[in-house]
Symmetry: C2
Amino acid sequence: MIFALEYAFRAFSEDEVPIGAIILDPKSGKIITAQHNQMRCSGNPIAHAEICAITEACRILNQQRLNGYVLYVTLEPCPMCAQAISFARLDKVIFGAYDPKGGGIIHGPRIFDQSTCYFQSEIIGGVHEEACQNILKDFFISKR
Amino acid sequence: MIFALEYAFRAFSEDEVPIGAIILDPKSGKIITAQHNQMRCSGNPIAHAEICAITEACRILNQQRLNGYVLYVTLEPCPMCAQAISFARLDKVIFGAYDPKGGGIIHGPRIFDQSTCYFQSEIIGGVHEEACQNILKDFFISKR
């Protein structure tokens, strides 16, 4: 998660909402890809850190499914990203801060609890929660 | 919708699940982009027709938000695409076939009805429903 946070800081320095995500092979400990939110630089409202990480991991591994891999992300994924995680078949999602306003796993539509969600990833939330929350708070304070 | 269906047929001929999407400027009648499902050719589980169309329209128009534009898509968008549509601020979504198993607007998490969904697009479903449904049926029959 520290490494995902590093990417959140990188986003901050590029004036993007500071969220970082990495996809890791838990067996080897190898990081497949590290991405941050790229909505502003790409001009694409879909370019959340998780979407960028899944797209990049599938490209690098040359496979459509990421069974066996783990996603670390600094903020609870939104409904779009939660569904994308399910489509990508990521084994596990470990996130930092909870997101009552925009989250889609523990909050909002709770994507993985829907009967129409055919693949449930294991979820662990609140890892390095304070640090992940603080960088977002600092970013939005800097925007006021 | 006929033009979106044409893209669904194009997907079929490329061995992709046949779903087509177009983004249109309703004032001028100009089609901004026409896309089909590209999961197989891109090796990306996220490359649904709607995601490809939003990404491409934002790139072409050089803007992150698509207020004023309309999305036509041959199948009810899934939860991932429904949330992406909300993020992209598309005014209206007109879809063909309903999708009780995987849809995210009328079925499943009903993304636009969630209190955490901050932008609701106008939704019209069932347009050229039978044709949009039949091409999907024919595709899956051909896969048996």
